[in-house]
Symmetry: C3
Subunit: 162 residues, 3 copies
């Protein structure tokens, strides 16, 4: 054996957190609100720097993702370059978010941002304790056709302000 | 050791299936028809819900991918959020497909869909037994410039109808 | 145990190289020139087939990435379908590059290419020894708005010609 056991375990934790993030995307794009809430701890937090968005706890998470489903359907949350720092049963991660929106006339690259996450290993499974979305250039989610399609979503977000 | 051996093996299987899916993409975008057929079992199936596409077995798979190469070259099959359910030497997976097409005047996001797969572990290697492509919004593969570029491909697909 | 130790180690090496490539992207898109140079060996090479670009060694790598930061900011280097061939403490990999550029009016898919890499395992960590970018269709980085935004970058690249 040339690689240490610690190396194998670190790699395995990275895979399992990557799997968790894939299930988050599936729940957001093709799943149910309950499936989306399931990838968070019961007191999980979802926030965004744009507009002071802050959604805390399972009930509010379900309410929020339902608002997303109803205002901007047909998204792909393409999540790439997942970099994870491990610390036993805790971990922190960041990943890039490249969001695409399918509309009858075209597919739009509609948002460009990144996630900053905290994870917990609970009963043999990783869960998201806190996910913050950073949107460094929110102006391109408000311009042109993308801006029109997103208008109802940004309005719905006002309910979740800090 | 804090993680179980089962956890390490599950993680390793996920990595090896992810590697298989990367090799599928390479064969589709930059490789040969034989390399593409090699990622399937000899009786492998590739199908799509759009147009009842159904391609069965190595010989037909080679014929089909050659039709793709000739009608819509310069694609990137960007495959993300791979979620795998393991069951010993069998597995099922789904992943998002974000297809991009490089043309002299621009790069187009041309297709937005997802794969539903069955895999088998044979002689130390994972292979695709069945891959179905779901295209929930086929209308945007038929609109505008993307529609023009794709016309010959959809026509070629008629040969592979159920 | 149904999977061999070699299988677990191969999977772990793939994960750790994938993690390295994520850190490369973070340094290129949101980090510092030093963080970007850190993912290479001290004598690391970054090259491109377009324009005979060749950047060798830490000092030149830092100079080059600073030129990228200043000429084409707000990129996402979306790197997907990572296929790695392992050989002990050496490895070779290829991955697809899908570059997106965030501008106030829109997000552009601005470049479509692939990386060909050599890696080394040094003191418990993987590093990039050589990365070559292949850009099979450079014409679409020179057309339309993308061409305008990229003009200063291609000019800066002339300093790094072979």
């Amino acid at each position: 054996m040339t690689r240490s056991n610690e190396y194998l375990q670190d790699a395995a934790d990275r895979v399992m957190i990557t799997d968790l993030l894939a299930r988050y995307v599936w729940a957001a794009d093709y799943g149910t609100a309950e499936q989306w809430a399931d990838v968070f701890t019961p007191d999980g937090v979802f926030g965004a720097d744009k507009g002071g968005l802050r959604v805390v706890g399972r009930e509010r998470l379900i309410e929020f993702i339902n608002d997303l489903y109803h205002t901007v359907p047909h998204l792909h949350h393409v999540t790439t370059s997942i970099a994870i720092d491990l610390d036993g049963d805790r971990a922190a991660g960041k990943s890039q978010l490249n969001e695409f929106m399918s509309r009858p006339e075209a597919i739009y690259p509609n948002l460009h941002g990144w996630y900053e996450d905290d994870y917990l290993f609970v009963d043999g499974c990783w869960l998201i304790k806190r996910r913050l979305v950073h949107i460094p250039h929110p102006e391109n989610t408000q311009a042109g056709k993308v801006g029109e399609y997103f208008e109802a979503f940004w309005k719905a977000c006002e309910k979740y302000r800090d």
